[in-house]
């Protein structure tokens, strides 16, 4: 094991040696630089490996052969080694990335780079406070030099501002140091820990010291200088400045903070949270990519500082958590800055160019996911652990603030991703310097590796070893294959997974498992019509299904939450594929992440901080916290079921998605939320908050969703939006059934789960097929298609009969169970809404079939053929299923009925014979079918007998007030179909919810717009900010002495 001091030695030596080279001999100089950096990285990594594996112990390195505190000593522990690896690797890669700039500027700049990395390593290593100062100044000056690498002349101004600010900082630092020394009689950090400073009346000195170090972390608002550097410097250097410098500075602050004792931690927490929130909000209004990244790094460092502020409660998990966030940030931020270097223009939309190079898009996504802390990256595990520790110690407020900040950050980062994916992309594929692209990929791989390590270190199963996830990620590797082959593999994967796991399912899991896996496979049949490679479809789709697969087998809260996030992110990418779905995908993600965070909070509260919590143990949660757990989890799940109030993402997301994606996200994905509700109600049952029975609240929410969802549906001109809104209503029914908390209510909910999957997938597919042919989704542009698209018509007909609950099809079963269920329910008022919404559903369903298939055929559609085979095939399967399910609902429901019976006292249905009987009524599907069938046939025969010679007449051969119309457009009554209804009940549709959420986002953006005026760009003002920051905190802290 090479002593870590050689990191410094090699760095310096190489820097000095560069001076000996001829100025023209640049390749050699660059080679020397790279070699030196490589050695430094190798040393750090070997230490990291040794320490992590326990092969080596943390060691002190003495200088001058004298014991500390009398001589400077360095220390390499696990933390140090990790950070050193980050710093040196960033240096190495960045140097490679900066090759051209360095070559052009010559050996001096290389020396500066080397010294910068050396200094950063020194900051991490040293245990001597004044030595820390020296390395800091080295970092400052070398930063001043590296800023000049940029070809942007504004960088020089930025560099000068930076120098000005650092002058102020170093003044504070020196004063702090010398008085600390006076109080301690030593400069060695470890001695401070021995006797806390405030005790010795050196609180103020320590405060100044701390402030100086914290100011290096670019706390809001004293960070304008840093943002200017981020914006103007060479991205290769910005990567170092963000990843390496930030890391080192954080560690320095942590080192000193650790000696100050617990009373300083709240200060750090406050600064950290403040910075995290403020910077994220400010970033909302950024349209310059590098400045945006700047804001984001500032925020992330703030987050780490806030975590450091919790070190008193994190215990031995501290490294795991802080390190997770820090490393995720470092890798991601470096990667993003590197990407921004290969992009020529600075506005966010310029990133569309990445689309011409899909691997870069994957890298982009990877980095974003790391920043947000999505699985399977380190930030995810860190977030989870952090949440539990905070809750355990009752620091919920801190957690909530962190989650809010993270949500905002996700907002602007994924909005950016949306821009990059959806906006107009240039056609000419740019030439990237291979070196640079290589560096970017390296960073992405490092990110995945870090995720793997963190997973291995976590106390849970490593997500990157979870079979479904691996399969989904595997699709990234076979992206090159043709779509059809991938489709076969996908279907096979789903079926195999089901076949492997169904043995262990209980009936509930079985129903959802069938819908998720087999149902998903059926929908995939429709994907066969897509030709070509269909890049970027299968990985997200399979990611979603992987999440669903993991969800139903999840036993612990961790597994459940991880699965939830996985399916969320997968479905987001999937929805984003739609043509106009950019804003809708974003709002979907925002609501889902918000919901996910609510779930996280809920689980943490439930576990009381002692994760992992078995889902089943939710039942054991009692006391004052239980209702809150219930509320949070319910909110989380209801974001997925798009309960009214949280629904505004759904219509756009489902409507704009591709033909075969809509059924996936509507028919399948929505059920994830219901599954969650099932588990929640099964385990926690009725909870009371402020004396209110929460299931009663759910009852109202469900009823309102049912009513308003249906009501909004009948006024849509866009067929897919209509279906989307109807999903809101249908989920409302299901929620209502669940919230009734009785046997039949749950049975009805399950009936809806099954039915809704079938007919919604069916309808979305048919409408999708029609839209594909007609090239529009506006129903009033269609009409009279029944003759051209008979199969689609039949599908829709069966679909709407089922959905409207008209006998004899299976929808009636749902209604029948509903009536029997409400007989025993004690809350009656909400049912009024459900009663009203039932017939309303009938309105939009009729509109759907009438305006598309009946009425007058448009001239431009006369040549249309029926929908493509592969889109029709699954529809026919569904039709067949519906007819069968109508006659024999028992085949699916009996066992579930029995299973639910375990949870409730009152008895369910009795299934003997063909008749299904409840304690109130009876229902005999087969006989109904026979009777109706017979009557229908007889009458049909009668009509045939009377009217067998009837033949089709021309389209316009109708009685039309003694006139004959010639234009289908004027004759097809479709636009604003239910005008009277709008006149009567339109007032119910005031978009209050939309306005509410819109107001919130606007408020945030306005705040950002207003606040960022703070950064006037004047270096002097920035210096003032720094002083204000210090002084205010001094006053807030109440004049420490």
């Amino acid at each position: 094991m090479v002593s870590a001091i050689f990191i410094i030695v090699v760095g310096l030596g190489a820097a000095f040696a560069l001076g000996l080279l001829k100025d023209s001999w640049r390749n050699g100089a660059f080679a020397l630089t790279m070699a030196a950096l490589a050695v430094m990285s190798w040393i750090s990594i070997s230490w990291l490996g040794a320490l992590a594996s326990g092969a080596a112990q943390p060691t002190d390195i003495l200088t001058a052969g004298v014991q500390p505190p009398f001589a400077i000593n360095l220390r390499v522990g696990l933390a140090e080694a990790g950070l050193l690896s980050v710093i040196t690797l960033t240096g190495l890669l960045s140097a490679l990335y900066l090759r051209d700039a360095l070559m052009q500027q010559g050996r001096r700049s290389m020396a500066v780079l080397l010294i910068a990395i050396m200094a950063l390593s020194g900051i991490v290593l040293t245990r001597d406070i004044f030595n820390l100062f020296v390395f800091f100044e080295l970092m400052v000056i070398s930063t001043g030099g590296l800023v000049l690498l940029s070809d942007d002349e504004r960088a020089i101004g930025a560099g000068f501002k930076y120098l000005v600010v650092t002058q102020v900082i170093s003044i504070l630092l020196l004063v702090g140091i010398i008085f600390t020394y006076h109080a301690q009689g030593s400069l060695n950090i470890d001695d401070f820990a021995a006797q806390p400073l405030a005790a010795k009346g050196a609180g103020l000195a320590f405060f100044l010291l701390l402030m100086a170090l914290v100011l290096e972390l670019k706390p809001f608002p004293a960070n304008g200088w840093a943002l200017d550097i981020y914006e103007s410097a060479h991205p290769g250097f910005s990567a170092i400045f963000s990843a390496a410098s930030g890391t080192a500075a954080v560690y320095a602050a942590d080192k000193v903070l650790a000696t100050g004792g617990a009373e300083w931690l709240p200060l750090a927490t406050f600064i950290g949270l403040f910075t995290f929130l403020a910077s994220n909000i400010l970033a909302l209004r950024q349209d310059n990519d590098r400045r945006l990244l700047g804001y984001s790094s500032v925020a992330q460092i703030g987050l780490v500082l806030a975590v450091i502020g919790q070190r008193d409660i994190l215990g031995d998990q501290f490294l795991y958590i802080a390190g997770g966030i820090l490393i995720a940030h470092a890798v991601a931020k470096a990667g993003l800055f590197w990407i921004s270097g290969v992009i020529t223009r600075r506005e966010l939309t310029a990133w569309t160019v990445l689309r011409l190079n899909p691997p870069l898009v994957v890298a982009f996504a990877t980095f974003l996911a790391m920043l947000i802390g999505l699985p399977p990256f380190p930030g995810f595990y860190a977030k989870w652990e952090l949440a539990h520790h905070l809750v355990a110690e009752g620091r919920v407020a801190v957690l909530v603030l962190i989650l809010i900040g993270a949500l905002i950050e996700a907002g602007y980062l994924f909005r950016w991703f949306g821009l990059a994916i959806k906006r107009e992309a240039p056609v000419a594929r740019p030439k990237y310097a291979p070196g640079k692209v290589l560096v970017i990929y390296a960073a992405a791989l490092l990110g995945w590796y870090a995720g793997y390590r963190w997973g291995a270190l976590s106390q849970y199963d490593n997500l990157l070893q979870a079979m479904p996830l691996m399969v989904a990620l595997g699709f990234l590797l076979i992206e090159g294959l043709p779509a059809r082959i991938k489709n076969v593999i996908a279907i096979a994967a789903l079926c195999v997974w089901f076949w492997l796991s169904y043995g262990s399912f209980d009936p509930l899991q079985m129903i959802f498992g069938v819908i998720f896996m087999i149902g998903g496979a059926v929908i995939f049949l429709a994907s066969f019509h897509e030709t070509g490679r269909r890049l970027g479809f299968y990985p997200p789709a399979m990611l979603m299904y992987a999440g669903l697969a993991m969800l139903i087998v999840a036993e612990s809260s961790f597994a459940f939450f991880a699965a939830w996030e996985v399916l969320t992110i997968g479905s987001y990418f999937l929805i984003l594929r739609g043509k106009k779905s950019e804003p809708h995908a974003l709002s979907y993600l925002m609501f889902s992440l918000g919901g996910a965070f609510a779930i996280l909070l809920g689980f943490a509260l439930a576990a009381g901080g002692t994760a992992p919590l078995a889902i089943a143990d939710l039942a054991q949660v009692t006391g004052a916290v239980a209702p809150w757990v219930f509320v949070l989890l319910a909110i989380g799940f209801m974001t997925k079921t798009a309960a009214i109030g949280l629904h505004i993402w759904l219509p756009g997301a489902h409507a704009e998605a591709e033909a075969d994606v809509s059924p996936m996200v509507s028919g399948v994905l929505l059920k994830a939320g219901l599954y969650g509700m099932f588990l929640l109600l099964m385990t926690m049952g009725r909870q009371h908050l402020f004396g209110v029975d929460l299931t009663y609240v759910l009852l109202w929410i469900g009823a309102l969703s049912a009513l308003l969802g249906n009501l909004m549906a009948i006024f849509q001109e866009d067929a897919k939006r209509l279906l989307a809104y109807s999903s809101i209503g249908q989920m409302g029914y299901a929620l209502f059934g669940l919230a009734m908390m009785n046997h039949l209510g749950w049975l009805m909910a399950l009936m809806f789960v099954i039915n809704h999957y079938v007919y919604k997938s069916l309808l979305f597919l048919s409408v999708g097929g029609v839209a594909k042919r007609t090239g529009t989704r506006d129903m009033y542009r269609m009409g009279g298609l029944i003759k051209l698209m008979p199969l689609s018509f039949i599908a829709v007909l069966i679909g709407i009969i089922t959905m409207s609950g008209v006998p004899p099809l299976s929808g009636f079963g749902g209604r029948w169970i509903f009536y029997n269920a409400i007989m025993t329910a004690d809350a009656r008022l909400p049912m009024v809404l459900v009663f009203l919404s039932g017939p309303i559903a009938f309105l939009y369903l009729f509109r759907l079939i009438h305006t598309i298939f009946l009425g007058q055929l448009k001239d431009e559609h006369r040549q249309l053929k029926d929908a493509p085979f592969w889109i029709l095939l699954p529809q026919m399967i569904y039709v067949a299923f519906l007819l069968g399910f109508a006659v024999l609902p028992g085949m699916a429901l009996r066992r579930v009925d029995a299973y639910i019976g375990e949870h409730f006292t009152e008895q369910g249905l009795s299934w003997e014979g063909l008749t299904i009987t409840s304690e109130f009524g009876y229902w005999s599907p087969v006989q109904i079918m026979i009777v109706i069938g017979t009557i229908f046939t007889l009458l049909f025969l009668l009509l045939l007998a009377l009217n067998h010679k009837a033949q089709w007449v021309k389209q316009f051969n109708i009685v039309y007030a003694a006139e004959r119309p010639f234009r289908p457009e004027t004759t097809h009554f479709a636009w604003n179909f239910f005008a009277p209804y709008r006149r009567a009940l339109g007032f119910l549709l005031a978009p209050l919810v939309t306005r509410f959420w819109g107001a919130i986002t606007n408020a945030l953006h306005e705040t950002a717009e207003f606040t960022r005026k703070l950064y006037t760009g004047n270096g002097q003002t920035y210096a003032v900010h720094v002083l204000v920051f210090v002084v205010v905190l001094y006053l807030v802290a109440g004049g420490i002495s």
Binding site: F130, V134, E137, V140, I141, G144, G145, E153, R154, I156, G157, A158, G159, F160, L163, V164, T166, Q167, V168, S170, I171, L174, V175, I177, I178, F179, Y181, H182, L187, G224, L227, D228, E231, S232, R1012, K1013, Y1015, T1016, G1017, N1018, G1019, Q1020, A1023, V1024, L1027
Partner: protein, 118 residues
């Protein structure tokens, strides 16, 4: 004695900062900062001073044996040297920057160098 020196140092720091915060001319700012850092150095040494003792050099005047009782604290002096050198380096760097800025912008007024903001 010490307090006077120390106070002087702090006053210098404040004066320097005041100058740096109020003069928009870059050169003046640099000068102000040098004043401030001089102040810092004064504070540094004044912390190490102990009344009635002599310089930490073990010549005939100060035998090795009695060093503990007769010399002043040597550490701040070592530190101040480093501080001075570093301050010098930074100043030189700032001057160079000032030169470049002037060549690019034809002005030394920092309030005019604001193309990076918000």
């Amino acid at each position: 004695m010490i307090t006077i020196a120390m106070t002087t140092g702090f006053v210098l720091i404040l004066i320097g900062l005041y100058g740096a915060l109020t003069n928009t001319n870059i050169l003046r700012m640099i000068v102000s900062f040098t004043i401030a850092s001089t102040g810092v150095n004064v504070v540094l040494v004044s912390v190490g001073y102990m009344p009635g003792r002599t310089a930490p050099i073990l010549d005939d005047a100060v035998p090795v044996g009695s060093a503990t009782t007769s010399i002043i604290d040597p550490i701040p002096q070592a530190l101040v040297l480093t501080a001075i050198v570093i301050g010098l380096g930074v100043t030189a760097l700032m001057l160079a920057y000032a030169y470049r800025l002037f060549r690019i912008r034809q002005t030394l007024d920092i309030s005019k160098i604001v193309e990076l903001k918000w």
